[in-house]
């Protein structure tokens, strides 16, 4: 197999094709500290792309509760267990990727989910880990202690919104025997050619994130298309612009050595290293990046986002002291346009975003929301106000 460089695992790895990065790579950042699992993204995607016959069980975008939520059922546990325990040495992954761990007659280590695994899309919603182990605190682990509160929350959960990662080294593309899947040169978006696909489901078996879905009506597989008709016009995808929590930002991402400091994606991913890939150990170089939730045990987060988790959490916690970082974070969900640059306007205390296509200033957002107090009695209307702030 040819060797390609995967910067997320800090080393070269095996991949069935020669490394050929696209001219530009479209990417996303999701801030997990802000997601409330309202599923507005899920519904926006569903109504835009997958409302048709045969698409009933498809969710190109879904939001699952971690650790007990998964769609399809148990997807990450299953592939982690197949791969077995692996290791990192600093920023370098010393374990095996899914390409390197594949059996000799396979391209990538994977499995095909059971049809029933798609039956419970919102399973485990809001379920916490740590609530059922009574007496685990203060050294008493036999359950005799009972549950009590000792000022530290031992139970945790968080919401994980998921879409196709439009990987740099896609496992779906590698495992398709008909070469129906391609990665666009212009923006790195991964698409399934519906005229070539014969529905063998090798892509579903190969993708560890289980993002391609089989359509029994068309007998082809379908997946998130990154809303490419929007992206081609300089506009962010539906799931990004409809997010009411403003947890999402999308745009083009450089490789680390070509990082542009005032580009919001490069700044957050390469400069500040605050947004991390999902399961980088799989070796696909996924392009959806997550700001990890600060309240979750680091060991679980390291398993999910790699060894940079502690640094990312530390940086996020101190963001209030860094107006430039705060500016980049404030621009999430504030414009439909894809940005190519941002800046912190110190005099106005505002975050400013620059449009990718025409270079004009498209949005400015105050870092501190202004407080306006109106008089209790409005003389002009002759009326009293219930709410004056």
């Amino acid at each position: 197999m040819p060797k390609v460089f995967n910067w997320q695992i800090g080393r070269e790895m095996e991949f069935p094709y020669e490394g050929a990065r696209p001219d530009n790579q479209f990417a996303y950042i999701f801030d997990l500290n802000k997601c409330i699992a309202c599923q507005t993204c899920t519904i926006a995607c569903k109504t835009t792309w997958t409302a048709g016959k045969g698409q009933e069980t498809m969710l190109w975008n879904n939001v699952e509760t971690k650790p007990y939520g998964y769609f399809p059922l148990g997807w990450d546990l299953k592939i982690l267990d197949l791969l077995g325990a692996q290791s990192w040495d600093g920023d370098v992954y010393t374990g095996k990727t899914l390409f390197e761990a594949a059996e000799s007659d396979e391209i990538v280590l994977g499995y095909l989910p059971d049809d029933m695994d798609y039956a419970n899309p919102n399973i485990g919603e809001d379920d916490c880990y740590g609530t059922t182990f009574k007496g685990a605190v203060n050294g008493r682990s036999d359950g005799s202690g009972g549950a009590y509160f000792d000022a530290v929350h031992h139970s945790w959960m968080f919401y994980l919104p998921r879409i196709c990662n439009h990987c740099t080294y896609p496992a779906c593309l590698s495992s398709c025997t008909r070469k129906s899947i391609y990665k666009r040169k212009m923006d790195g978006i991964v698409l399934i050619d519906q005229t070539r696909c014969r529905g063998y489901r090798e892509c579903i078996k190969g993708c560890p994130y289980k993002r391609p879905f089989y359509n029994p009506h068309t007998r082809t597989s379908e997946k998130c298309i990154a809303c490419y008709p929007f992206v081609e016009q300089g506009q962010q995808p539906q799931c990004v612009v409809t997010c009411i929590g403003k947890i999402r930002l999308s745009g083009y991402l450089s490789t680390p050595e070509k990082s542009i400091k005032n580009h919001p994606m490069d700044y957050l991913i390469h400069e500040k290293r605050i947004a991390l890939p999902l399961y980088p150990q799989f070796g696909l170089e996924p392009n959806v990046y997550y700001i990890p939730p600060v309240h979750v045990p680091p060991q679980f987060l390291t398993q999910m986002f790699g060894p940079r988790v502690r640094h990312a959490i530390e940086t996020y916690r101190s963001a209030h002291k860094d107006p430039e970082l705060l500016s980049a974070l404030t621009l999430f969900g504030c414009t439909e346009r894809i940005l190519k640059a941002f800046k912190y306007d110190k005099s106005a205390n505002e975050a400013v975003g620059i449009d990718m296509m025409n270079g004009t200033e498209v949005v400015c957002v105050p870092l501190t929301e202004p407080v306006i107090v109106r008089p209790l009695h409005d003389q002009k209307l002759g009326a009293y106000r219930h709410n004056i702030t």
């Binding site: 148990g74 990450d76 267990d81 919603e125 379920d127 150990q281 679980f300 999910m304 060894p307």
Partner: protein, 131 residues
């Protein structure tokens, strides 16, 4: 839950009682509800306050000592979410297909208190080691 909040109606409630298979599917319209009765927040009763008899019954105002009768916003309008409720939960049947055995996700060890050893390793983040 909010993906498929198909609440019960008279037709579906009747169907659960009258159909041999107990399916909550209205005979007249074919509408099928997710619930045998009620809807998502059914265990907290309605969000809108009941107005039984208060059109003519004498009642006190929400603030102060005024006694009156008829419409009053704090009595008849939804002014807040229900604060508390009493719920009685009874077992309908076993969770598995055709009412036999465990629900599949529990059987597979993916639900709280049913965890397999692999699931326990996952919860503790033991699929990754740092040197």
């Amino acid at each position: 839950m909010w993906h498929n909040m198909y609440g019960a109606c008279k037709g579906t409630v009747d169907a659960t009682r009258n159909r041999p298979d107990g399916l909550a599917k209205s005979e007249e319209t074919g509408y099928q509800s997710l619930f045998r009765s009620g809807s998502h927040q059914s265990c907290t009763r309605g969000y809108i306050k009941p107005t039984h008899m208060t059109d003519s019954l004498v009642r006190k105002g929400a603030f102060g000592q005024e006694i009156g009768k008829g419409f009053a916003a704090d009595i008849h309008c939804p002014t807040g979410a229900p604060r508390e409720s009493f719920v009685r939960i009874t077992r309908a049947e076993a969770g598995g297909m055709n009412g036999k055995g465990l629900w599949r996700p529990a059987e597979l060890g993916l639900r709280p208190t049913y965890e397999t050893d692999a699931m326990k390793r996952f919860l503790e983040g033991k699929y990754i080691k740092e040197k």
